[in-house]
């Protein structure tokens, strides 16, 4: 079983190397779109957002954290725990701020991010059931968690989508090779 999988992957890599396909990438990639809703409030602060992947029986993996990276002495990390589910599930048991997965907060709109397996916090996703969890916490605003369950096929691909109501809009993902 392991062997045949390995051969398949190897075959794909060889194929990629010898053809000039429109999508030459053979590394597994997860494209995620997270929509931050535009809110008409007197004092708006861009939300802190954490994205992580859960799989039954495995430790959760943080793949992206957006926080206020511009504060003196990196003081913005103080509020990472306001993403309370992320903090409890994975944030407090990994370095603060997490290594190699952080970025600045983002303005309202659809943020599109691609994660490559083996880079940053992104694990290689073998066939099975997963959940992408997105949590947004806004200063002076609310906090919302959107869970997007998805199933990775034997070919290593998947699709999933979810939707928030207050602090998050549409969330979608595509796992491709």
């Amino acid at each position: 079983m392991m062997d045949s999988k390995y051969k398949l992957t190897l075959g794909g890599a060889l194929l990629g190397a010898f053809t000039t396909a429109a999508v030459p990438a053979t590394a597994q990639t997860m494209d995620v779109s997270v929509t931050i809703p535009r809110l008409t409030v007197a004092e708006y602060h861009k939300p802190y957002v954490a994205l992580w992947i859960e799989q039954a029986g495995k430790p959760a993996r943080t793949i992206n954290v957006w926080y206020d990276t511009g504060k003196k002495n990196n003081a913005g990390i103080k509020w990472l725990r306001d993403m309370r589910q992320w903090w409890r599930t994975v944030g407090r048991t990994t370095p603060t701020p997490p290594n190699g997965v952080t970025g600045a907060t983002r303005a309202p709109g659809a943020a599109k991010i691609s994660f490559t397996a083996g880079k940053g916090g992104m694990p290689a996703l073998t066939a099975g059931s997963y959940t992408l969890v997105v949590e947004a916490a806004r200063e002076g605003g609310g906090r919302e968690v959107v869970k997007v369950p998805f199933t990775v096929s034997a070919a290593g691909t998947a699709k999933g989508s979810g939707k928030g109501s207050f602090e998050l809009g549409a969330v979608s993902l595509t796992v491709r090779r």
Binding site: I77, K78, R84, Q85, R88, R92, T93, T96
Partner: protein, 283 residues
């Protein structure tokens, strides 16, 4: 027939009401935050009160002395302690990573003795340390029992640790199976209760979410400890919960356990112990 049944029901209802109003107010500690980033320079502030509704202030403030145990086992002095009319407030610097215990314990002796043919009660506030001095020479038929009260809450900077969960072997204590700073909606949590250092079996433990004032349903959930003193709760909603268990003293809630095998002598006071903790359930 109907009438007599109705009056019986009414009687039962008023008896229940009398029981509930007679119930002791709930003692609690309420932390401003249970999860700290662990930057080393954060502050916790805590309210301590004895109230009917959770978590509001409606009874006289108490001169309790809280003991703060840091993850490394040291005792951290509280700062800015203020004992108000309806509550006590204090601050705690959170300088270490790990789990802190905030604990108030109160050990008292109560009972009576006969002196010159007259029955005298032990004065309020008698402790095990002052008991000998409280009983005059010549007293006979001395009947005493101990009351141990413990009120706790826990906060964690960074990753939860378990160093503060040790048993002192007196009163009711909580030893977590599930860490009290790792509770979440729809997840089962297990706590072990000890009475004088031994598993406290067959006691009813109650859990009540805060915010009682603005809802019709108390939302109390209860469960009995098993032979190992362990009790399991699955939290229906996020928020701060008051978890309490007690023995003796005819408490309205949290009281439980079978009657003693040999009923105490009419004059003998019943040993009492109570434990209450505030825990946060994440949503």
């Amino acid at each position: 027939m109907l009438n007599s049944r109705k009056s019986l029901l009414l009687l039962a209802a008023s008896a229940a009401l009398a029981l509930s109003t007679a119930a002791q107010a709930r003692q609690w500690l309420l932390p401003s935050e249970t999860m700290f980033t662990g930057s080393g320079n954060e502050w916790l502030t805590v309210d301590a009160a004895n109230s009917t509704d959770l978590y509001y202030y409606d009874h006289p403030g108490q001169p309790w002395d809280a003991v703060i145990t840091a993850p490394d086992g040291s005792t951290v002095p509280v700062e800015n302690r203020m004992v108000g009319k309806l509550r006590q407030v204090f601050d705690v610097p959170i300088a270490q990573g790990g789990t802190y215990k905030i604990s108030i314990t109160n050990d008292q002796m109560f009972g009576s003795y006969m002196l010159n043919g007259e029955k005298k009660m032990l004065p309020r506030g008698t402790t095990p340390a002052t008991l000998a001095a409280a009983i005059p020479a010549g007293a006979t038929e001395v009947q005493t029992a101990e009351a141990n009260n413990r009120i706790e809450t826990f906060v964690t900077a960074g990753e939860p640790t378990t160093s503060v969960f040790t048993s002192g072997g007196k009163g009711i204590e909580m030893i977590p199976v599930t860490h009290p700073n790792d509770l979440a909606v729809d997840e089962e949590a297990t706590f072990q209760f000890l009475l004088d250092g031994k598993p406290a079996a067959d006691l009813e433990v109650v859990a009540i979410p805060g915010g009682i004032r603005y809802r019709a349903d108390l939302k109390q959930i209860s469960a009995k400890t098993d032979a190992e003193g362990k009790v399991r709760f699955t939290w229906p909603e996020a928020g701060m919960y008051w978890v309490s268990v007690s023995i003796g003293g005819r408490r309205g809630e949290g009281a439980g356990g079978p009657p003693p095998a040999t009923p105490p002598q009419p004059e003998a006071p019943e040993r009492r112990a109570s434990y209450s903790m505030t825990v946060e359930v994440q949503g």
